[in-house]
Amino acid sequence: MKVEHRAEQFKEHSLIGSLLRKLHIDIPLLIGLLLLLILSFMMLYSTGNKEVALLIRQSARMGIATVLMIVLAHVDPRQFQRFSILLYSIGVILLAAVLLVGDVGKGAQRWLDLGVFRFQPSEMIKITTPMMIAWYLSGHEIPPKWRHILIACVFILIPTLLIVRQPDLGTSLLVASSGVSVLYFAGLSWRFLLTSVFSLAALAPVYWQFFMREYQKDRVLTFLNPEADPMGKGYHIIQSKIAIGSGGVYGKGWQGNTQSQLEFLPESSTDFIFAVFAEEFGLLGCLGLLAVYVFIIARGLYIAVQAQDTYGRLLAGSLVCTFFVYAFVNIGMVIGVLPVVGIPLPLISYGGTSMVTLFAGFGILMSIHTHKNILPG
């Protein structure tokens, strides 16, 4: 049995197309991602006061992320499967290390200083957790038995709780959802899913009382009633809504934002960049952006359905799901329907760590899609 390439099965005439296939690149996915990167560039040019250094830094990050994606696309998915448990364990150990020796940035311990560069283990765990769960569940019956579900939950809880301790609510949410989504795709019973959702909701007051830090509580309270403190904590959301609402249907045009340029809107190039986008490009622009996200998600789910084995399928499904949670939570918080948690708008916001992780995820998706075996028998 030999790996046979799709490109060899279906002759591709276009030169670029065949090159991309040789590179194990999925063209529709690539087009979607490139669209987002172009938009990101335009937005950063507009919000960053046309600062060239900022654009150069971001392009360097885009370059690194793209290279990582291509490298991962080349790896046979069975290698991911084989190393799942190892990568997951390393991730958990690093998370524990961060709590012990990590750098404190903006009041939370997230970084591990490796001398040459600083590394955020919570980013790595966003991918290795679904890998671990997919590996574990694909080794047993589908749909999973109670026992396996419980063990899988333990695997999800370990990194999630470690990240909550940092404290980083947004990331722990993403890690938990990436793990739970694997369970969902594996056919976790609806009854179990609904029971857990309700029991978690019941536990929320306990969590509020004992685990949430003051600033996290503030964010939730602010979300519930932003006008209570318009000067301080509610300021973000109110300014964000003004920016979005003033954009109207057609927007004020590229670089036409007044709210962020007059510095009414803080963090306009990072977590709140969607507000600037909505101000400049209006409702139509937002629909376009959402369409690009839906397109990428749809293509990702298609890849998941087409995947050959259980592991690839579960992992692909979970990665796409995480991407959606990213976009949904960020946009939701910027337009004021979800509380403010520190999650960037995927592939648009300024910053490198989340982009590298997301591209790594897409690299794995492409690997799953472009390495298809002829099944024995």
Binding site: I142, Y184, G187, K241, I242, G247, G248, L301
Partner: protein
């Protein structure tokens, strides 16, 4: 663990997965529709409302500067305060042609070119909707002149700001310090949020060392502004937190006595409260008017100050390093007693010079014909160099250096001000590292009379004197007595007291000899003994500025003023129950006894009279 691929029901699995994917995709579409619905609500239904908020009545949050804390002296007299002052400010956003505006303003108000240049430089660090000061401390005439022309200068306005003022000017310049405009280097390291509305920062002295305490925290005010950026309504406000007030240990009256006593001499006077270690007097002369720096000093003024041969900007107390001369002798004598090299009754004949065995070089005594037969008491009272040459040679540099180190020589005093120098206490190791040479016995001799490599700051000298007066209880000088934040007193931290193990009788013998310096017929500072009803323990010193060659004689009349020796005096009083320790250095004063000692006496008399 081998996987059970074979027994898995792949048909069931495919079916589950497909249905789950479809359900998820539908759920995603529903959630995204929710986002779209919200966007339509904001951008279509709410558009006119938000558009209005965004363009007509924009809400702007501006930072409100805090009031800087006031600095008082020991008696509650104001050393640094905030006075209202008018400044001419420009909001670049509202100016259509900046070049033209600046040119016309320059003509109308006769603004010097350098102010325009400074404005252009400062402009970069502000947002274009910030109000940036161009000219501070406007005169009433200028305010009136501009009021008439105001309508021709859109975006330019007069604002009332608080400006720092130092009522005692030269007298407290080096201690209190001054605030000045934030410069480029400072900008890089300052927390942006704290300094958003603050234009100046403490540059030297207490203003710098206690910047964080004096500054306070900015407040915010939420202002509705119209399309032109003009404020039309204040909606809400978080008041700024004023900085804390600081009471210093310095007594301005005493400071003035010291400053005036220095008369025409440059130099320094430091006085410490022996009970607490608090700095009562910290005079560095020549001085300058710190008020010149507050709103940006002019090039001409700065050049004058900087190039003056009196070096008025130089803080002599903390950064001036002088040879201690004979003021070091009491400490060396104590080292001799503690190490049992000598005792009070041991005598030596002083012929006016000293020679090392097998070396023709003559180490001179300041008294050409010698002091004759001297014991330790006479050696201190009359400052006999030969006695100390002999004793330090017997002591050796290692013990000498080690003992002086305990009194704080060669290290910073740890005072709560910045920029202090450590002075220099030579040792075998220091010379090997810094000069790559072995230590020579001759160097031990001159170290023994406070010459050679040794350098001390006036603050160090005062601290060592205080430590001696306190029987070896090490004094750490400090300047901030009390910090009052919002009527609450914040504790000022002082390092724990340390003790040098000393034999009390040895200390008494040295203090006794120091009393004889002032209160005996042959004492080098006997001139100050009259008219006082208590005892002062002191020691005179002269520090060589230039070295006399072997066969030359020091002739005061012939050499120029700048080559004359520095005059030093250390003292504490009353000798039997010391309350105050003083160190005086009068640059080029030549004679410790006649020039420096009266200055110290004036300070001590004033303090003990209070």
């Amino acid at each position: 663990m081998r996987r059970h691929q074979a027994i898995k029901d792949s048909f069931l699995e495919n079916r589950i997965f497909l249905s789950r994917t479809v359900i998820l995709f539908v759920l995603i579409l529903v959630l995204i529709s929710g986002l779209v619905a919200r966007l339509i609500y904001l951008q279509v239904a709410g558009h006119s409302r938000y558009h209005g908020m965004a363009t007509n009545n924009r809400i702007k949050v501006t930072s409100v500067p805090p009031t800087r804390g006031i600095i008082y002296d020991k008696q509650g007299r104001i050393l640094a305060e905030n006075l209202p002052s008018y400044s001419l400010e420009i909001i670049p956003e509202q100016v259509t042609d900046m070049g033209d505006t600046l040119q016309r303003l320059q003509l109308a108000l006769a603004i010097p070119e350098e102010k325009i240049e400074a404005f252009k430089k400062h402009r970069k660090r502000y947002k274009h909707f910030d109000s940036i000061p161009l000219l501070m401390q406007l005169s009433n005439t200028d305010v009136a002149k501009f009021a008439v022309l105001r309508h021709t200068f859109p975006g330019v306005d007069i604002h009332a700001r608080l400006i720092r003022h130092y009522p005692y000017a030269e007298l407290t310049a080096h201690v209190v310090g001054y605030v000045g405009r934030i410069n480029e280097q400072e900008l890089k390291i300052l927390p942006e949020a704290e300094y958003r509305s603050i234009h100046s920062i403490g540059k030297i002295g207490v203003e710098r060392a206690y910047e964080d305490i004096l500054r306070g925290h900015a407040g915010y005010s939420e202002i509705e502004i119209n399309a032109q950026g003009k404020p039309i309504n204040e909606l809400g406000k978080i008041e700024p937190t004023p900085g804390a007030d600081i009471y210093l240990t310095v007594d301005v009256d005493l400071q003035k006595v010291a400053y005036d006593a220095l008369a025409e001499y440059n130099g320094s006077v430091v006085a410490l409260d022996l009970e607490t270690g608090g700095v009562l007097v910290q005079v560095s002369k020549a001085s300058f008017d710190p008020n010149l720096f507050v709103s940006g000093i002019s090039h001409a003024d700065y050049k004058t100050l900087n190039s003056s041969k009196n070096k008025p900007l130089f803080d002599r107390v903390l950064r001036g390093q002088y040879p201690p001369g004979s003021t070091l002798k009491p400490f060396i004598a104590l080292a001799g007693l503690e190490h049992e090299i000598t005792h009070m009754h041991e005598t030596l004949f002083c012929p006016g010079y000293y020679q090392l065995p097998n070396n023709p070089h003559k180490y001179r005594d300041w008294k050409k014909w010698g002091h004759g037969k001297v014991n330790l008491d006479i050696a201190i009272t009359q400052s006999c160099d030969v006695y100390f040459y002999d004793m330090s040679l017997a002591l050796g540099i290692d013990k000498l250096s080690g003992f002086l180190h305990k009194f704080g020589f060669g290290k910073k005093t740890g005072i709560d001000l910045k920029g202090e120098k450590a002075g220099l206490l030579p040792s075998r190791e220091w010379k090997r590292i810094n000069r790559e040479q072995a230590w020579f016995p001759g160097e031990t001799l001159i170290t023994g009379i406070g010459q050679g490599f040794t350098q001390v700051t006036p603050m160090q000298l005062a601290r060592a004197t205080a430590t001696l007066a306190n029987q070896g209880q090490v004094v750490t000088p400090y300047i901030a007595e009390r910090i009052i934040d919002d009527n609450r007193e914040i504790a000022v931290k002082h390092p724990p007291a340390k003790n040098i193990e000393l034999k009390p009788s040895n200390v008494q013998d040295i203090i006794g000899a120091m009393v004889h310096v002032v209160h005996s017929a042959r004492g080098t500072a006997k001139s100050i003994a009259k008219d006082i009803d208590f005892k002062i323990a002191g020691k005179t010193g002269t520090a060589q500025v230039y070295t006399i060659k072997q066969d030359e004689e020091y002739n005061e009349e012939e050499i120029s003023f700048n080559m004359r020796d520095h005059a030093l005096f250390i003292a504490f009083a009353p000798a039997d129950d010391p309350k105050i320790a003083v160190a005086v250095i009068a640059e080029h004063g030549s004679h410790g006894g006649s020039i420096a000692a009266p200055i110290a006496a004036a300070v001590i008399k004033q303090y003990l009279a209070q």
